[in-house]
Structure formats: C-alpha cells, structure tokens
C-alpha cells in the first residue's frame, strides 16, 4: 500500500508498510497510478500511452527507478505484520492516570469532565486511595522499570498536599522494587505559586499547561464560575514555570473549537508568548454541541493545518526551536512496530484511577460504568476487559487495517471511538480526517527540510 499526496507543491509518496518516504517528479508521481505488481522487466506499453505527455526516455528511466525501489522492498512493500500482531498479548500495566481531584476551580465550557467532576460529584482523592493505586501499579507492572503516573483531574493542584505525599511515597518504593517513577501533571494554572512551581519543576518529568491561545479565544471557554476568563491570571504563572523549568519537558496545550478555526493564530500567539512546545487539539464532542468541530468544517481545518505547517517550516529554516506536537515525526527512529500496532494501549498498559479508587481503561472512560475495570481498594480487576482492550490493534479495526496512516496514528482514540461511534474498534471519522491531514503536513515538513 502506498499513499501519495501533494502539499506545498511537493509530490510525496509514503510506502505504508516500510515507512519509506519519497519526493517524486511529475512523471513518477503519475506513473504510480498505473503500476501493477509483479513488475515486468520492461515498462509495459500502455504506460507509454497513458503518460504520453512525457518522452519515452523519461518514462523508461522512471520505470526502472520505480522497479529498483520495489525490488529493494521500499515501494509497494508487503504487509507482513500479522505475525507481530499475533505476538501482542496483554502487557503489564505501567502507566497510570491518577484522577487526584474530581473538582475544578474553572468551568470550561467544553470540558469532557463536566466541570471537573466527571458528572459524579466533586471529590478529592485521599492519600490512602492514592497509595493503594501506586501499590497496585507496582504489583501489576511485572518487570517494567519505567512507571508513569499522571496527576490529572479536574484540577490536580486542588489536591496538592496529597500529590506531594504520593510522590514521596512512590520515591520511597523505587529502590526496593527496582522502578523509576516518571510523574506528569496537567494543570489549568490557577493555583500555581512559587512553592508549587518549584515542586513541579523538580518532580514532574513533563507538565501540561492548559491555555487555548489568544486572550479572547481562551477566555471564551476557560472561565471561572463568575464567567471571567482565566488568561490574565494563569499566563504569568505559566511563563514563570517555563522560565524556571530548566529545559525539562512541558507542553502548553490548547483546545480549538468551531469558533476559532483560525487556530494557527493561537499557536503563533503561544509561540510569541515565549512557549516553544505547543499542542492544540480540536474539540470533538457530541455533534450537536455548537462548539464541536464538524464534517463541514474539515476543508477549513485542513487549510489551517497547511498554514501552520508552512509557519513551522519557516521557523525550522530560521533555526528556531519551536515544536507543534502533532507535526513532530521521527521518520528514522520512531517507535517500534509493536508500539505502533496498538497505540495508546488503554485498558491494557494504561489505566485511570478515580478518587474512589475505581479503575477505568483511561481518563476518558471514567464514569462509564460498563467499562469500569475494578478497584484498587478491593484489588478486583476485570481481566476480560483488559484482554478486550489489548486486542484493539490497527489490524483488529477494519477501517485502520485499510488506512495508510495506521502506523503513525495507531488506531486513534479508543475512547472517542467508543463515545462517538459506539465501539472502541470503530474509528471516529472526523478525528481520522484531522489526524491524516496532520500527518501529511508533518511528512511534508520532512520532505521540505530534506531539500
């Protein structure tokens, strides 16, 4: 399978199964439409007829180049991934989202957690429950050395004292169990102060700072109960945190909605504020919600990603070290095929734990009774559900199997699939379209930089 596309005047081909990427001239680009395997030694006559705008020499030369690449296994390479899929059973749990606070000091209009409480009332996780969750993680992580714990909410800083105690508890277990904890935290910034910034910069290997971009865009949704936006309050705190972060990983993470489909301006705004690691995601929620992006917005959205790609390219050429999360792509040394086959691995390697100690496949499944997997308090754990989630590979999803983006996207978000399409194995169309566009942009940037 190949995927060919033009972008920014480049004619690009991705060979899906090998991962090879090519830039083609017009003749080669057109010829690919008429290639049938196995390739005869000489270019078939009908190709000369179909490409009559090119000279015979050009055609025969191009044909031999294509043939050479096919013989090297770089073009139209075979799909022999099934044996790897079959090897993928369940895996140890090594990653945990701790919903440390089902409560929030903002009421963002688009929040999937329904104002932070996930629709189940406001609640903070106690130290005891958190400890049990960490014990559960260690017990179920087998020989995995790196364990990730993300403090999430609601707003995790509403339960800062418990976070501190849990980090120190986890650190006390590292040596004994031969584990390395990597903590991350996602915050809206309202409660940040010097003490918290110091703690985060010392203990969190990554921190995600929620901010949507331009003030009027941010303040439209990210508001206090009073209706006042949070931009002016959180911005200086985020800037301070990043300035003192010492090069450690962080992301400023925004959401774009139907109301700011010109979101490349928000990315630019965030760069201009001094943030160099930015991620902006679409709000894909129930179709009827006014702010949710819809199918008819896609053309506009694609244009915006293209614009952003040109901007990123310009930045790169000027040597600026700015990153847009979804355009980051390592063609040479990306993740291994096992990782790519199963993507997020929620409900298998990754779980979320609520303040009550309930276990869900990930933070987006929290509150969906049917997908509740167990409890860290009772130690119950539904292995059948785990097996089901572990089986969600790109080869068990019919749409993904046929999709050129499968080894980059890795099957999409199982939670979106479930919430909007009814099954973890049914890809959510709008998300797919956006993901594919972002990948094309990311590949184009690589092609352009190879000039």
């Amino acid at each position: 399978m190949i995927h060919k596309f033009t972008l920014n005047d480049y004619k690009i081909v991705l060979d899906v199964n090998s991962g090879a990427v090519f830039e083609l001239d017009d003749c080669a680009y057109k010829m690919l439409d008429f290639i049938d395997l196995p390739l005869p030694a000489e270019c078939p006559k009908d190709i000369y007829i179909k490409l009559k705008e090119f000279s015979n020499d050009e055609i025969s030369e191009t044909y031999s180049e294509i043939k050479e690449l096919v013989e090297q296994g770089l073009l139209f390479s075979k799909d022999d991934y099934l044996p790897f899929v079959e090897k993928l059973g369940t895996a140890p749990i090594k990653s945990m989202c701790l919903n440390i606070a089902h409560d929030c000091n903002l009421e963002c209009g688009y929040c999937f957690a329904s104002q932070g409480d996930f629709g189940h009332g406001r609640k903070l996780m106690t130290y005891e429950v958190g400890k049990k969750a960490l014990d559960f993680l260690i017990e179920n992580s087998a020989d995995r050395y790196n364990l990730e714990v993300d403090f999430f909410g609601g707003e995790p800083l509403m339960n800062f004292e418990v976070i501190k105690k849990l980090v120190s508890y986890a650190r006390s277990l590292e040596k004994k169990h031969n584990k390395n904890f990597r903590f991350t935290l996602t915050t809206n910034g309202v409660l940040l102060n010097d003490e918290k910034i110091d703690f985060i910069n010392k203990e969190m290997s990554n921190v995600v700072l929620s901010l949507d971009g331009r003030k009027e865009i941010n303040d439209r949704f990210r508001c206090f109960q009073t209706g006042k936006g949070c931009y002016d309050i959180v911005l200086p705190k985020f800037q301070k945190l990043v300035a003192e972060r010492g090069g450690k990983e962080y992301y400023v993470r925004g959401t774009y909605t139907r109301f700011n489909l010109d979101f490349s301006n928000d990315v630019e705004h965030l760069f201009a504020l001094g943030f160099d690691q930015v991620s902006i995601e679409p709000a894909v929620t129930e179709k009827e919600l006014p702010f949710s992006v819809r199918e008819e917005d896609l053309t506009r959205i694609f244009k915006e990603y293209e614009k952003l790609a040109l901007l990123m390219l310009e930045n790169k050429k000027q040597g600026k070290k700015l990153n847009f999360f979804h355009f980051m792509l390592d063609l040479e040394q990306g993740p291994c095929v096992y990782k790519r086959l199963r993507g997020c691995s929620c409900g298998n390697e990754y779980i979320a734990v609520t303040p009550e100690g309930d276990i869900y496949p990930c933070h987006q499944f929290v509150g969906i009774e049917e997908k509740k997997m167990g409890s860290v308090l009772s130690g119950e754990f539904d292995n059948k559900l785990k097996v089901d989630f572990a089986s969600a590979t790109v080869y068990s999803k019919e749409e993904c199997k046929k999709c050129w983006a499968k080894f980059y996207c890795s099957g999409g978000c199982d939670a979106n699939n479930y919430l909007y399409e009814g099954s973890i194995k049914l890809p959510h169309t709008i998300s797919c379209e956006i993901e594919k566009k972002r990948l094309e942009c990311a590949i184009m940037i690589k092609v352009a930089l190879a000039q």
Binding site: L74, G343, F407
Partner: protein
C-alpha cells in the same frame, strides 16, 4: 535517481527485532490527553 528522491528509507519492519520492551511513555501521557499520535513518541532504546 533522477525522478524519485528518497527522503527516508528506514524500514519499519526492522524495528520488530529490538521492539516491544514497553519502557516508553504511554502516548496519552505526553501532551494531548485526548487523542493519539504514536509516531511522534520517543523510543527508549
């Protein structure tokens, strides 16, 4: 080659030999928390 420029020829299949150690970050723990791009994750090996 005159008509085709190879931008990248890393072969995905070869990563199968080293792969699957499970030590890298779960993709949703990285930056977005709502969706999944896996190809931009760092391999620990």
């Amino acid at each position: 080659m005159k008509h085709i420029k190879i931008v990248n020829k890393a072969n995905l299949k070869e990563t199968a030999h080293k792969g699957g150690c499970g030590e890298c970050q779960a993709s949703c723990q990285s930056a977005c928390k709502t969706s999944c791009t896996v190809a931009n994750q760092k391999c620990e090996k």
